[in-house]
């Protein structure tokens, strides 16, 4: 199975070279440039999901989360912000499955609607760090020298902080907004992405297909874009799904201590914070359901990340 994935990437590279410049006939045609390589990745994915039903479950959960995020306000039975003091502090009933909070707001609706915000924070921060970390890591690995030293030093400096603490400091300094939570989460994940991208780019900087591209007259920048990046991409995508869960946890943690999202906005972390005091006096449902939603989402992304890694990079399977 490893073979199939490898072969597939090689095939892409050679076609890229061919389109970049008329390739000399001496470039060995990739022996595996046969159409069988494409479906085998798919069948491998089916195999991995079939092999590990947990990954299938995680995928189903993921679909549920996406539906909540996209259609949240339509699916939610009540208005997430409408307070109704007559119905405050109700334990879960048939009318309010998750109960109501201190202002009588329906917790289930709030949990569903919050999905979009929580997911958006995580997706944007991961996308941002994917760009920043990916590009600088690839540059560092490909060019080496000063670029490598600067990126390495930057990553080391970030790693010298306990990451959540650094995120707190960044949000405090930049200002208490959701955008800054996204930025802070991206910054603390930077070293991870930069290092992975650097390592992946570094082993390929003098690979045969890169030399072939150089020989056919491609500029360095073009080589990075057409040869290195497509090869680094699969690992980086796995990295993204592995850090999604952590990004959600981090953002929820920040809003739990009162950073970023402000009440009355529905967001899982802040909802847990709002119910924290009532938890100890026995009104467990206010904090429980948003906390459980958070837990399920993170669990789902961690499992998906593991599953995706098994598909893309079977050797790192633990």
């Amino acid at each position: 199975m490893t073979q199939a994935v490898r072969v597939d990437t090689v095939r892409i590279d050679t076609t890229e070279v061919a389109t970049a410049a008329p390739a000399p006939a001496t470039i060995p045609a990739a022996p595996a440039a046969k159409p069988a390589a494409q479906p085998s990745v798919f069948s491998h994915a089916v195999y991995v999901i079939g092999e590990n039903p947990v990954t299938g479950l995680a995928f189903a959960l993921f679909l549920l989360i996406v539906v909540c995020a996209v259609f949240g306000p339509l699916v939610a039975p009540y208005d997430p912000l409408a307070s109704n003091t007559d119905a405050a502090y109700q334990a879960p009933t048939l009318a309010h499955w998750f109960g109501t909070d201190q202002l009588g707001r329906d917790i289930m609706s709030r949990v569903i609607v919050a999905t979009r915000l929580d997911l958006a924070i995580a997706v944007f921060s991961v996308a941002l760090v994917f760009l920043l970390g990916g590009v600088s890591g690839v540059m560092a690995g490909f060019y080496g020298g000063w670029t490598d030293r600067i990126v390495g030093r930057l990553a080391d400096t970030i790693m010298a902080f306990p990451l959540f603490v650094l995120a707190m400091g960044i949000v405090a300094a930049l200002g208490n907004t959701v955008t800054n939570i996204v930025i802070a989460t991206a910054i603390i994940n930077f070293p991870l992405y930069a290092r992975v991208a650097r390592a992946e780019a570094n082993v390929r900087r003098d690979a045969g297909f890169v030399q072939a591209a150089r020989l056919t007259g491609n500029g360095e920048m073009r080589i990075v874009l057409t040869q290195i990046l497509p090869n680094v991409m699969p690992i980086m995508v796995v990295q993204m799904s592995l850090t999604m869960g952590y990004a959600i946890l981090n953002a929820a943690g920040l809003s739990f201590i009162g950073l970023g999202v402000r009440p009355p906005t529905a967001e899982w972390g802040i909802m847990v914070a709002e119910g924290a005091a009532d938890m100890v006096s026995g009104k467990w449902w206010i904090a429980f359901f948003p906390g459980a939603a958070l837990m399920v989402a993170v669990f789902c992304f961690n499992l998906l990340g593991d599953g995706l890694r098994d598909i893309v990079d079977p050797q790192r399977r633990t």
Binding site: A172, L174, V280
Partner: protein, 337 residues
Amino acid sequence: MLKQIAKRLSTVIPSLIGVIIVTFLLTRVLPGDTAAYFAGPAASAQAIEEVRKQLGLDKSMPEQFVRYVTDLAHGDFGKSLTTGQSVTADIATRLPASAELTLVGLIVAMLIAVPLGILAAVKQGSWIDHACRVIATAGVSLPVFFTGLLLAYVFYYQLGWAAEPLGRLSFLYSPPPTYMGFYLIDSLIARDFEVFSAAVAQLVLPVATLAIFSLAPIARMTRASMLSVLASDFVRTARAGGLPSRTVIITYAFRNAMLPVVTTLGMVFSFLLGANVLVEKVFAWPGIGSYAVEALITSDFAPVQGFVLTMAVLYVLLNLAIDLLYGIIDPRMRVEG
């Protein structure tokens, strides 16, 4: 060995410089006018100007940096707007509470996770192995503030086994005389066993929360490195030589397997120091984490900055300690450096 320590110390310096530069930059990107901010909301234009001079904000960036570093060297982290006291003093009185919580949490996590990981590796494929895997995956998915609340609900509200999750000591007791600031140790020194058990009662839930959180990476790493060591040639030789499996596992395999585990401790500490902030907030623990959270809410920046700096310096020093520990466990490191 001394040379080795000196060499390791020299690697700490660039990290410290990096940390100081970052915290300096964080103070300078404060939105709005820093001087107006520090002067308080009711300050006149003249007062703001005075504060600006006093803080040295009218100088150039490099000059400001020099001043900042000089202040730090004198242990001056600025003044808290809310408590009105110097941040250094505030942090110094609150640090032992955080340190006690974090260290006890880590020790408990190690005591559970290391044997669990070893058992999972020795009995690979058994129920204990599966349990280990479930714990490892669940542990990293749990939001630490949520675990803390759940534990408080179940063990304090429902079962009534645990003490009220409010602070380091029930209001019925007065804190022991301060030697180290750790209530557990101070109360033992004072031979006040009643206070000792009261302090333990308050510690149980927050420590359990932190331990559950940090169990996962330690158990996972122990299992993985134990597995690879158990598959190595010298273990096979020891087994073939007829050594009892207890000797093989504990004397031969364990010490070698601990090396990668010690390395992951650095990462565990990074998570632990962050999780500490959330746990302190949940359990109203009077440590530096909750101090920083209070300051954050009132937009009091000096304490936050002092907190970030303190945590970063602690973390750098912890990593240094881990490096040195590595040298003690693995004699090869001492020779090769």
